[in-house]
Amino acid sequence: MKPIKSVILLLLVVIASSFTKDSFSYEDGYKVGDYASDFSLKNIDGKMVSLADFNDAKGYLVIFTCNTCPYAKAYEDRIIALDKKYKTKGVPVVAINPNNPKVQPGDSFEKMIKRAEKKGFTFPYLLDEGQKVYPQYGATRTPHVFLLEKTTKGNKVRYIGAIDDNYQDAEAVETKYVEDAIEAMLDGKEIKINSTKAIGCSIKV
């Protein structure tokens, strides 16, 4: 290929890829049915945690959340309740803070430890150090839930979205999306609502 041609081609690729990133970034990440990759991230107790560490798990509730977002805070008690209810049934909560602490100092590792202590988190609360994991999953906001089912082929994404349909008032919830999805998954039934949308805080990069 002539040099000029390859330069043009290269330019085209660069332009196309920058366009793609700008306009279609929401298409990145997992969709329901994809297999999610494992990770190794530092927990608030200083130990590294991977999905593979949970030998008896039938699945995982991977929740991208943080200390600072009002929507994430509004769901903290409900996340604790989910973990208590489903850990014993083989679906533990694994919470990941995807924010860059340099941009959002309230989401630093130290502040994560404090928040977890104050709220009495019963689940691992991991920092996505270097912010490599959340883009793989395609998390865009906090809180953002990914329900995974452990299968022989890998961890299959079964549900993506919100915890339930009322962030303001746990008492006024009509549909518990995540609970319904876990129950159906454990019963081997079809998950009727497998993705939902909710307002949340953008991830700080």
């Binding site: 700008d22 970034s25 929401y26 298409e27 977002c69 009002p70 509004a74 959002q104 865009t140 906001r141 953002h144 979205g161 919100a162 349909d165 009322n166 962030y167 303001q168 008032d169 006024a172 999306y177 939902t196 949308k197 909710a198 307002i199 949340g200 805080c201 953008s202 991830i203 700080k204």
Partner: protein, 184 residues
Amino acid sequence: MKRLYIFAFFVFLISCKTEDSKPEKAENKEDVSLLEPKEVLAEDSLSVAVYNFDGLEPLLNKKDDKTYIINFWATWCKPCIKELPYFEKINAEYKNKKVEVILVSMDFPKMYKSHLIPFIEKRGLQSRVVALDDPKQNTWIPKVNEDWSGAIPATLIYNKDKREFYERSFEYEELENTVQQFLK
């Protein structure tokens, strides 16, 4: 509840009266009366209409000759606050080019009095601010845009010929360039 509506209506009447002297705001009055907000927050000369999504939806689908910039934000959202002055600047500088900015606050209702109203006053926001209070997000988010994950800041820009949605934050230049594409 009924008393609240009567109160809201009363507040609306008062707020109209104070705005009579400003002709460029005449159009807003019409919207407010058309859409029947759930509630009107009022403090001094400031009033903010609170809508559920059905009430807000007409604002996202107007068919006149203006270009509307609908920015979804909240007082607690850092990147939203950072870009707010850019939207204010566009609203001021492009007013005579038939561009209108509408700032849709996603603040929690319990934060309206403590955060939203003081914020609007302190910053002296000139763009029209409305509040959206509708917990059924999975129902209304796709109606704003199919591809919106729900993260804010997010901005809808539209006129009768063109409609684009941006789940991202803007620098001023980017925003201005984007808006200009709607004015061609």
